[in-house]
């Protein structure tokens, strides 16, 4: 690899992981805001999300510069494509974290967590998926990334179960519809975050192995 390109990649990686650190932090805080009912966190999360948005734009411009200047090929091009997509996914996760946090004030004091018993576990899984997929990029570890793909199915199942429970509760007692709906949305966001973490893991596999595992090709290849 050309030394200039190498240097540029190092810088890109640094920026990407600075962005990911902010996103991870925001996700943690958002989950905390909902589960522990700390209303003061929302403003903090919003402020950091602004930084995240700026970082995302900067990163994309940086990527375009590198593409135009060095015109990378083969594995380098793969890297560029992957980080561009990861950048996007991270920004989306950041937005979802804000959405989760914004529901927090309406849920506190009403024991909402009890109504969605699986939420803490789902949130924890989603966070660990995000962490693992980022770890997979750091270590270029396709096996770790595949673990993430497996976990996504669990989160989907949890979400389905929780949504069924919440629907049942809504039918039974319409006075709590607002809170229950909020809860439902929070669960949906967490499930979305898990999906995006899965995307990142797929990009990590693509980066490490050059294999595209999206759209169930992973399942079809029978590697599980």
């Amino acid at each position: 690899m050309h030394p200039h390109l190498n240097h540029a990649f190092k810088r890109l990686k640094k920026s990407l992981f600075t962005l990911s650190a902010a996103v991870e932090e925001n996700l943690h805080l958002a989950v905390k805001a909902v589960l522990e009912g700390e209303p003061g966190l929302v403003d903090q999360i919003r402020a950091r999300d602004l930084e995240i948005d700026l970082m995302e734009v900067d990163f994309e411009e940086e990527c375009l510069k590198v593409l135009a200047l060095h015109q990378p090929v083969a594995i380098d091009l793969r890297f560029m494509v992957a980080v561009l997509k990861i950048n996007n996914d991270l920004e989306r996760i950041g937005d979802l974290a804000v959405s989760i946090a914004e529901h927090a004030p309406h849920l506190t004091g009403k024991d909402p967590v009890d109504t969605a018993r699986k939420l803490p576990r789902m949130a924890e899984k989603a966070q660990s998926m995000l962490r693992k997929s980022l770890d997979a990029i750091v270590g270029m570890d396709a096996d770790l990334a595949r673990e993430v793909l497996a976990t996504d199915d669990e989160v989907d199942a949890d979400y389905y179960e929780t949504s069924q429970e919440l629907k049942a509760l809504m039918r039974k007692d319409s006075s709590q519809v607002d809170e229950l709906l909020g809860m439902m949305l929070v669960c949906k966001h967490v499930e979305r975050i898990a999906d995006l973490a899965t995307n990142i893991a797929e990009d990590a596999i693509y980066m490490a192995d050059g294999e595209i595992v999206r759209h169930g090709r992973y399942h079809a290849s029978g590697e599980r």
């Binding site: 990686k13 650190a21 962490r131 750091v138």
Partner: protein
């Protein structure tokens, strides 16, 4: 550059000297031999010529050319010499080999010219007539002082040359033998020098490969090489010493760094991790092998820590900050970041020292919460009391029933205040007694104690009570302060009765384990969310703030349970699943003396 072996360096000069001297000697010898042969031949030829002059004189005077020719042939053939007689005018009169008539004028031949001039002439040249090199000697034939002819004798040089060639061949053969001998000698010589040198080279290569423990074997027969080997060995020893010293120092430094409680992380100017100690890898939950050579962003992925590192690298003095790490629960870390400086004062990177202050922060927040909670808990009943008393004072209700109701409320709030203060006092007493030494203990049968606690709490409960079941063997005894343990159990049972909501059954159980007595209160109620569990034993911590206060709790019950357990040297713990129920457990250590009492 291609390097030749030492053998060639010695052998080639040897060979050159031998060949050169051989060539010189051969040249000189053959030259001398040749000269010697020529001299011999020419003097021989001169003698033969002189011998024949006398015979020729009468024939010449008679001018009998046929006789001269015959004599030439006869004498010449007899002595294997060519004899030629040349008249003063150069005409050939007689010749051993040829017919004189067919021969050209010989007056221009150098030897003949000399002879006709009266001297003995000799010459050596290629004979066109005979086709080979010959040596010629001519003498004058005199009669009465005048020269009447020249008599020339000649002899072929072929035999001499052949003899010379043989000699030269022998010398060459000898030279070849000598060269071979020289090769053998130089080979042996070169080996004697090169073998120890090669050994030394191999030794030096071993040193270079780090096997400094090996030594060179000495080469005793050469002082220079022996001295060189000694020097090598000395050098290896010194190197080994130095490397050992450096290794020791490095190991010491690493040991110091590794055994530090503080987590240390060093990054270079590009934010790449260049050093990390064990405490840091454990604190940050990373693989040590993964960390080094990667950037801080990849390894830590905490925005605040990254910002701190950047701040120090961007210049400026040491930075201090506090970050929250959210991997597997929250951890508060105090971070000191300072610049790393090289020997010349240049900035090499940054050093981050991380201190886990989670405990301190939690204690601080506990204390803060405690003060806030105490004030709040005390103020609520007082506000209520004050309100009703002021109403009674300023605007006494006409209806005595209303006044009595007010007073009842005031009384109830005063009771509540008292309950809180009693609880606080017992807590503080427990804290002071803390160390179990001062605690008055006696061997207490467990089952009656449990039964008492159940009776007290069920008597207090007003609503329909879930069934309370006792699971305990009759003869279990434990060394405790009975009133305290009873209070703890009553608190746990009260909680189960008040807050378990949907509970249908409460099980109070006690059993003995090898070192412990385990007492537990289990309900099958609504359960407690996992987020509350770590803090549930804190003073004034309430899972559901509104409800528990309405039920008349002080918020101190579980804190007292924990302190009672701790005062006995044991522990209180909780496990719960939402929707399935909660289990509070008190484990008490079993004293040796208790065991003896039980055996007796």
């Amino acid at each position: 550059m291609h390097r030749k072996s030492l053998l060639w360096h010695i052998f080639l000069p040897f060979l050159a000297v031998i060949v050169l001297s051989l060539v010189l000697i051969t040249g000189y010898t053959s030259r001398s031999l040749r000269d010697f042969f020529y001299q011999q031949s020419s003097s021989d030829l001169t003698t033969r010529a002189h011998l024949m002059t006398d015979e020729m004189v009468p024939l010449l005077l008679r001018d009998d050319e046929a006789a001269i020719q015959r004599t030439c042939e006869v004498r010449g053939k007899a002595s294997d010499t060519r004899v030629t007689v040349v008249a003063p005018d150069g005409r050939v009169i007689g010749d051993t080999r040829e017919d004189p008539a067919g021969m050209d004028n010989h007056g221009d031949r150098p030897e003949v010219r000399e002879a006709l001039a009266g001297r003995v002439g000799s010459s050596e040249r290629y004979s066109a007539t005979l086709g080979h090199r010959r040596i010629y000697v001519a003498v004058p034939v005199r009669h009465d002082g005048s020269i009447i002819a020249a008599l020339r004798t000649s002899h072929s040089l072929t035999s001499i040359e052949r003899a010379l060639a043989v000699v030269q061949q022998r010398i060459a053969l000898g030279g070849l033998l000598l060269a071979f001998g020289a090769a053998v000698i130089s080979f042996v010589l070169a080996r004697r020098i090169s073998v120890p040198l090669r050994q030394m080279k191999e030794g030096a290569e071993r040193f270079a490969a780090g096997q400094l423990g090996t030594r060179l074997s000495m080469a005793p027969d050469s002082e220079e090489i022996g001295a060189l080997a000694e020097t090598f060995n000395g050098m290896a020893e010194q190197l080994q010493d130095r490397i050992r010293t450096i290794e020791n120092q490095r190991n010491e430094q690493e040991a110091v760094l590794a055994s530090m409680v503080e987590s240390v992380l060093a990054i270079d100017r590009d934010e790449v991790v260049i050093g990390i100690n064990r405490a840091a890898t454990e604190l940050l939950g990373i693989e040590p092998a993964m960390a080094e050579g990667r950037t801080l962003q990849e390894v830590v992925r905490n925005p605040d820590l990254i910002a701190l590192g950047k701040g120090v690298l961007g210049g400026g003095g040491p930075v201090e900050g506090e970050i929250v790490l959210r991997r597997d629960g929250e951890r508060h870390l105090q971070v000191h970041a300072t610049g790393l400086q090289g020997l010349e004062g240049q900035r090499l990177g940054a050093l981050l020292v991380l201190n886990d202050v989670t405990r301190i922060r939690r204690l601080e927040s506990l204390r803060r919460d405690f003060v806030a909670n105490v004030s709040h808990e005390l103020r609520t009943p007082i506000t209520s009391i004050k309100g009703f008393v002021e109403t009674l004072q300023n605007d006494p209700p006409a209806d005595p029933d209303v006044a009595r109701r007010f007073l009842t409320i005031v009384n109830r709030q005063a009771d509540r205040l008292q309950a809180i203060i009693d609880d606080l006092l017992s807590l503080s007493r427990l804290e002071q007694e803390g160390g179990s030494a001062e605690l008055a203990r006696e061997a207490t049968p467990v089952r009656p104690l449990l039964q008492d606690a159940v009776d007290i709490s069920t008597a207090r409960a007003t609503d329909d009570v879930p069934t309370v079941r006792l699971e305990c063997v009759d003869d279990l005894e434990v060394m405790v302060n009975a009133p305290l343990l009873e209070q703890a159990l009553v608190n746990l049972l009260d909680n189960a009765l008040k807050y378990s909501g949907t509970a249908t059954e409460i099980v109070v159980a006690a059993h003995a384990e090898p070192d412990l007595i385990v007492v537990s209160v289990r309900d099958d109620g609504r359960g407690i969310a996992p987020t509350h569990l770590p803090r549930i034993f804190e003073r004034f911590y309430r899972v559901d703030k509104a409800r528990s206060r309405n039920m008349g709790g002080t918020g101190l019950g579980l804190a007292i349970v924990k302190h009672i357990a701790q005062a006995h040297g044991g522990e209180a713990s909780v496990s719960s699943t939402l929707g399935e129920g909660t289990t509070f457990t008190i484990t008490l250590p079993r004293r040796p003396d208790v065991d003896r009492a039980m055996d007796a």
